[in-house]
Symmetry: C2
DNA sequence: GCAAAAGTGTTCTCTGTACACCCATGT
DNA sequence: ACATGGGTGTACAGAGAACACTTTTGC
């Protein structure tokens, strides 16, 4: 703790459980998806839930979130930030520090285990969830939408090189509305968050697209 | 906890200490001030620190923050929101859920006790602080500045009725820069967050000022 | 009548939005 | 030649910023 209570200088409080939760988003098939894990144990056995777990002793919540993310997707060095600290999601007085992360579906390799199997689910179409995980996901979703407008977090959703159409489709999937192509390109370029690589992607029977990259692969606000 | 770790279904983790911290701001004498408490116990005996303390058993962090705020200032029903969850501020692996609150200095009555004495300090001129409380205050300060621009949080800093000049001085104290009177009034009124009460305040040897009130006394974003 | 703060409009710039056509390629 | 997505510019509206003088009161 950081400051003792004046009224209880040495409170012998029973310590609450402290857990970490990670809301891991990706964009795949033009839909925003979230990683869920099928619970193999009680309570809520058989329900889907967010990855997470009790804090290992002396492990900081940030470190635990990074570890969880790595365990489930194999990725690191992506956008990951603290979301909110929820209390009593389980009805038993615990405290859960929630994080949210953005990963590129191509780079993420889900753990292939028997129990506690992970899978992607479209945020717009979630299965019944354990605990109150639906509200945690909703909170993360609102935050993601807000950040998309005033930061470069999308860098974490796409491969290093991408076309402007890919980027726009990712934005549209998250914001759930169509964006104007010209305005979108103008804005992205004028904000200076991306730059052309000079390379080109020939992907279909149509004109090849210029490939772009984010200038910075860490969070920037504007 | 909300979800058990797949890899450690029944982790016997040593639970970390969980504390609550509250950064309580007010505007007084045209300066942004923060409430600090003089520590009467170790560690950091004699240093100033943020009010806070260990979570009482089974008490939710939100409830503990509300309680702390009431204990130190006597007020409730003010703007209070979760700020961030810090880890290891004390170098001993604790977790501290920080909140920040805005109070009207006129309504707040500081506890008058012998030990753990509370007092206001200008944010721009803080004494040496216990633990890493300076960075918590700084974080809260940044958040407050940001919210001032896109919310009505200031409702919590002023009495129910106030003049536009008072409101502007509060904004200027927080943002630490002068604002244009006409633009400020235009904006406040066009956002529709305040309304004239019809009453008037004759306060000096000059023209009396119209009194305004916030339309909503709860947080609104725009 | 003077000191002191209250109150009030207009102009300009910039940002966001709406909108439609030609281009390069594969088949 | 045609189907497919890539790529481009302009005009309008609304928001924010700059800027100075008159009004009302107490003394």
């Amino acid at each position: 703790m950081a400051t003792r209570a004046p009224t209880s200088p040495r409170a012998p409080a029973a310590r609450p459980d402290v857990a970490v939760l990670v809301v891991i988003f990706t964009v795949q098939a033009d839909r925003l998806q979230v990683l869920l894990i099928k619970r193999s144990g009680d309570p809520f056995r058989g329900y889907w839930a967010l990855p997470g777990g009790l804090l290992a002793s002396a492990e900081a919540p940030d470190a635990a979130a990074i570890r969880k993310l790595g365990e489930e997707t194999g990725v690191s060095d992506v956008f990951l930030e603290q979301l909110y600290t929820f209390s009593d999601l389980d009805g038993r007085g615990s405290v859960a520090v929630a994080y949210f992360a953005l990963v590129d579906a191509q780079q993420a390799h889900l753990a292939r285990r028997r129990a506690w199997l992970p899978a992607w689910f479209a945020v717009a179409d979630l299965p019944p969830l354990a605990f109150d995980n639906a509200s945690v996901i909703d909170y993360a979703f609102q935050r993601l939408r807000a950040k998309l407008d005033y930061s470069n977090v999308a860098y974490s959703l796409l491969p290093e090189c991408f076309t402007l159409s890919q980027l726009q489709r990712a934005y549209e999937a998250i914001l759930a509305r169509p964006l104007d192509k010209r305005n979108f390109r103008k804005r992205m370029l004028s904000l200076g968050i991306i730059e052309p690589t000079g390379r080109v992607a020939a992907e279909g029977r149509h004109r090849p697209a210029q490939l772009y990259a984010f200038r910075e692969r860490h969070p920037i606000m504007f």
